[in-house]
Symmetry: C2
Subunit: 243 residues, 2 copies
Amino acid sequence: MQTKTTARQPRKLAHAVVERLSGRIRRGEFKPGDKLPTESEITRAFGVSRTVVREAMSRLQAAELVETRHGVGTFVRPGAGRAPFRIHQVGTATLNELIAILELRISLEAEAAALAAERRSKADLATMRRALDAFARQVAQSKDAVQADFRFHLTIARATGNRHFADLIRYLGTMLFPRTRVNSAQLAGEKRATYLNRVNGEHEKISEALERRAPEAARMAMRAHLENSRERLRRAYRTMLQS
Amino acid sequence: MQTKTTARQPRKLAHAVVERLSGRIRRGEFKPGDKLPTESEITRAFGVSRTVVREAMSRLQAAELVETRHGVGTFVRPGAGRAPFRIHQVGTATLNELIAILELRISLEAEAAALAAERRSKADLATMRRALDAFARQVAQSKDAVQADFRFHLTIARATGNRHFADLIRYLGTMLFPRTRVNSAQLAGEKRATYLNRVNGEHEKISEALERRAPEAARMAMRAHLENSRERLRRAYRTMLQS
DNA sequence: AGTTGTATGATGTATGACAACTTGGAGGAG
DNA sequence: CTCCTCCAAGTTGTCATACATCATACAACT
């Protein structure tokens, strides 16, 4: 009963159906808005059971390639084929991977700081202030102030008025969060405190530039802050390898 | 038989199961590496058929929250809950939306140009040259040289050696491609030619900076190029509204 | 001890039936 | 003739059952 087309790899039939259908969508054989064949038609065409077809449909839906309306059919969604941006890190967090992501952050946050300096509202300054205070408080309690740190950066991104900056920076943040925490955990006692205080000082410089509505100063301060971060990262890894 | 928990909205049972399971995963009740209950257990727990459970599983897989191994079970993937970055534009392409995306591009490509000026290989210069030639050729044939334009920018992104720059810029490019084409189609004849020649000149300036390994010059040239793009966009929309 | 066989439980697929929903058109009321 | 109602056909959503395939643990055999 089964056709020879996919007989080689009988495991994951649904996967094969997904591949072929999504291929035809991306290739433009099914254009956005088109109604693609009914489940029973696909069943006949591919020689698989409806179970498999439904599983495949489910995946296409999850990929936001199609949209199915109960009792009507499934349709190709407008803007199909645009894969979202994602960072495919290959498990191992190499130093180079982290630095690559940091380069992206430098690029984005430097510009974001400049834009925010022009556009920030008083409310933005207030939430920024709260983040900075929380940071200082956490440092005093010998905690890793990672959350407050992130909130500070995110507030600046939001102050640009361009939500894409905030979205992207948050995404990048979630990517390298677990690791930065590990890194700061490497340091202990005195060193850790001085390190965090220096970070705090850099944050204050950025904040000050935003208050003064000084775009170029903000850009430079943010760039310096993140480049210092990069250097700290390099050093941390070197000492880690030596121990 | 059915529990009251989701009886209100009997449509999309699978969706409900997905919500509850993904919620428990994000909430940390199921940690990465954990094996979550078998399909029959979930069937009993939620009072739905195995069909629904499998549909839910399928979506969780597609979302890369879990991974199922045949004959063993389904496990929570490490790094679950990190949604990829995507631009949620709501159909209508307002001017502000396009400018917001362009701001991102400015931020990224300016830095990319600077990095590429330091790191570019001779091969990079060659492919850049090819893109520029193709651009000029297309302009001579009165075609919209969008593809060649994009290839030029993408080559620079790749020359940074940081693949994330290339990935992101390509993503942004696919976002605003259809529209830029529309815009350049607005212009006709003489104006279009002078416009494209000016773009070509700006490209050449960037290229020259990359050859000279002059990071700051490359950064400024790229920034000027894209800011000009932004102004052209503003003008095009203004004239469009008047007609 | 080391290998093989087998039992068990898990996911993958097939099949048939019915429920819920949408749409379009037949048929009656005005 | 027009409009409304209602139903019938077609499609997706859900259920139930059975069997196939895979992975693992443990018993049995050499």
